[in-house]
């Protein structure tokens, strides 16, 4: 009798334990999922920021703009024939 009672109590505890375990695992999963979603969003935001910055960089570094800045603001010019020196190896 005492053995049967003991086994019953053990089973009951095991069932309760696993039930709480399930709840816990579920909670963990939710939290991890929320974290995952947050990180994914952050990644997407950063990617978008990156593409915006690339676009901005491309716009600033546009050849035409560089040419204008070089010639007008910095007073640069292309070297002509006589300004160049060929160094043969």
């Amino acid at each position: 009798m005492s053995l049967r009672f003991f086994l019953f109590a053990l089973m009951l505890l095991a069932v309760l334990g696993s039930a709480i375990g399930v709840v816990y695992a579920r909670q963990q999963h939710r939290q991890a999922y929320v974290e995952l979603t947050r990180l994914e969003n952050e990644r997407d935001e950063l990617n978008m920021e990156f593409s915006r910055l690339q676009l901005e960089q491309a716009t600033w570094s546009e050849t035409n703009r560089i040419e204008q800045v070089a010639t007008e603001k910095l007073g640069m010019k292309s070297p002509e024939g006589a300004d160049m020196v060929v160094i043969s190896p």
Partner: protein
């Protein structure tokens, strides 16, 4: 008195009641079993449909970058504001506020929403700055939402417009490489199944149906710097010669990669205004021109292959020749010429005499092998195959005219391909727009013949040739000018197409370039005067940009003294020489040239476009 006909039988009543209840229970269990076991799928589906939702996972379109990784087309997120008319129409008093927030006239907004009053979705404004969209949604007007979409930006505007093409408002390629590589760039939007609550918030992600495949980046063979140089020079040449349109193609000879391809007139791909559709055409691959004298190098190659002695002397006097009732004439009487002189002075009579010595089939075969009359296989949408009729129908006169470039039509890309083949020791490479996308090529003519013709072509850029202006200090340049009359219905007009096809440097050919300028109406119309200077200016810069070592250093030494002391001494002496040498003054570009379309201001990029609102 009879009290009871039948005695009260509690047991029987109990049985009846029990039986009835039992039947009810059986019916219930039966029905439950029917629903659970036999119609399970249907009910499960109905149940899920009430809280499970499939949500798309958006992907952005891949970037297009040039051969050095510089971005040419970038998608950035923008917001589109939309409304649910059913919800919104319950609060008509807020419409004026909404119209003001969106910057749309109120009657337009009211009408648009009234038209869609039985629907649940209407765009209010598409593709606006995310901050502006947030400001609209933050007003809390019922039934107004925003969603993220992507918009394509082209930082180089007109310069790259024809090669890249553009996308429509739904970010699908419509023209150019955006269309040709649409599926590569688009990626596949993913989907996930989620549980949503009554407010539409996502409670739980149940499973991933399809992982999103983001659009892949595309690395082109185009070099942004050469492309810009070509654009700038073509545009200034068009203005200088009052020409209507033009194209430039630059090919990398060893690989067949397209390094630059520009056309004029161009358009700004960042704006969706309905511009003149003619400006959208990539003329370098879709339009055909008669190649004029530029074809003569192929005629000479065909003659050599047919066994003509490379040292043959051809008599072209007196500069006129009657053939099948037509007169073929040269500009001057060139007398007796060898093949090199024939190309240098571009004698029509010489080319005709060579062609008359060949069979129709052989001449056709060589032209065909050089890629004329067939699409180049570059994969560009709308590419033209050109026109080269079958040799069976050629009469004497037709064969003669084809030998100097009339009666067949080619695209500028085909012409560039043919010259690249001559320079690539007779190996024809399929032109490609993708870095590393070229194949192994196909040997179409004996390397010795190709080499021979190429070196004959160097005479064209010497002072005796028709294109001195194409010469580049320090490099051996081979090329051929062409001037063809424009064909109009009923005959040839007194309007011209000025062409130049060239290769540089001769020792290790790197660039093949074709310049086509259509309808120059200025003082000059010869290819050598209109198109050859463009070749010079672009190649001079491209050789420096790509670090191509000079192959004609002796010439450079005579042009430019090597020591600073000598520079001063020679400066005065060289002053006239330099002027005559026509060195490009790369910095003095007309103002109009230096404005390739309205590129969006960096910070405010996505807000620029009001077009497509309320679409």
């Amino acid at each position: 008195m009879k009290v009871r006909a039948r005695p009260y039988q509690p047991k029987a009543r109990l049985l009846v009641l029990g039986g009835v209840l039992g039947l009810c229970a059986v019916a219930l269990v039966g029905r439950a079993a029917q629903m659970q076991l036999f119609n399970k799928d249907f009910y499960q589906h109905q149940g899920n449909a009430r809280f499970l939702r499939e949500v798309p996972i958006a992907t952005s379109r891949g970037m297009i970058v040039d051969r050095n990784g510089e971005p040419l087309a970038v998608s950035t997120p923008v917001e589109s504001v939309w409304a649910n008319p059913k919800e919104l129409l319950q609060h008509p008093e807020r419409l004026p506020e909404l119209a003001q927030a969106l910057g749309i006239p109120q009657d337009v907004l009211t009408q648009r929403i009234a038209q869609r009053s039985d629907k649940e979705f209407v765009y209010l404004r598409r593709h606006i700055n995310p901050d502006d969209a947030e400001a609209v949604v933050a007003r809390g007007i019922p039934g107004v939402y925003s969603q993220r979409e992507f918009r394509r930006f082209y930082p180089h505007g007109e310069v790259m417009a024809h090669v890249l093409g553009y996308t429509n408002i739904d970010d699908r390629g419509q023209e150019g490489l955006e269309l040709a590589f649409d599926s590569w760039l688009t990626g596949k939007p993913g989907a996930q199944r989620v549980i949503r609550d009554a407010h539409g918030r996502i409670v739980e992600n149940v499973d991933l149906i399809r992982a999103a495949e983001p659009g892949r980046d595309l690395t082109l063979s185009i070099d942004r710097r050469i492309q810009y140089l070509a654009y700038r020079e073509l545009k200034s040449a068009l203005i200088a010669n009052s020409a209507t349109s033009g194209s430039i193609v630059v090919l990398d000879i060893p690989t067949g990669e397209v390094l630059a391809m520009v056309n004029q007139p161009s358009y700004n791909p960042n704006s969706r205004d309905a511009a003149n559709p003619g400006t959208h055409r990539n003329r370098a691959v879709t339009d055909v021109v008669e190649p004029g004298s530029t074809i003569k190098s192929i005629t000479v190659a065909a003659a050599l292959e047919a066994g003509v002695d490379p040292n043959i002397i051809i008599q072209t006097s007196p500069g006129k020749m009657e053939l099948a009732g037509h007169v073929i004439s040269d500009v001057h009487d060139h007398g007796a010429v060898n093949l090199t002189q024939l190309l240098a002075v571009s004698s029509n009579i010489g080319a005709t005499k060579l062609a008359l010595g060949m069979s129709n089939d052989h001449f056709y075969d060589v032209l065909h092998r050089f890629g004329f009359g067939t699409s180049t296989g570059s994969g560009f949408p709308g590419e033209s195959a050109g026109v080269l009729s079958q040799p069976r129908g050629w009469g004497t006169l037709e064969k003669a005219t084809i030998s100097y470039g009339y009666g067949l039509s080619v695209t500028p890309l085909q012409l560039a391909q043919a010259y690249a083949t001559l320079a690539n020791e007779g190996r024809l490479m399929t032109p490609t727009f993708i870095k590393g996308g070229g194949g192994t090529g196909k040997q179409v003519i004996d390397p010795a013949i190709a080499h021979n013709v190429l070196h004959m072509l160097e005479s064209v850029t010497t002072p005796e040739g028709t294109a001195q202006k194409a010469a580049i200090v320090g490099y051996h340049v081979a090329g051929k000018t062409g001037t063809s009359r424009k064909y109009i219905v009923g005959g040839y007009d007194k309007r011209y197409i000025a062409l130049f096809a060239g290769v540089v440097p001769l020792d290790h050919p790197k660039f093949a370039m074709v310049v086509v300028i259509n309808d120059p109406t200025g003082r000059d119309y010869y290819g050598g005067l209109v198109s050859a200077p463009v070749f010079h200016n672009v190649m001079d810069g491209a050789l420096r940009l790509m670090d191509v070592p000079p192959d004609h250093i002796e010439q450079w030494y005579t042009q430019a003294p090597a020591t600073p002391a000598a520079v001063a001494a020679a400066a005065a002496a060289n002053a006239d020489a330099n002027a005559a040498e026509d060195l490009p003054d790369a910095v003095s570009v007309p103002e109009a040239v230096a404005a390739p379309g309205a590129v969006p201001a960096p910070g405010a990029a996505p807000s620029a476009n009001a077009n497509g609102a309320l679409r």
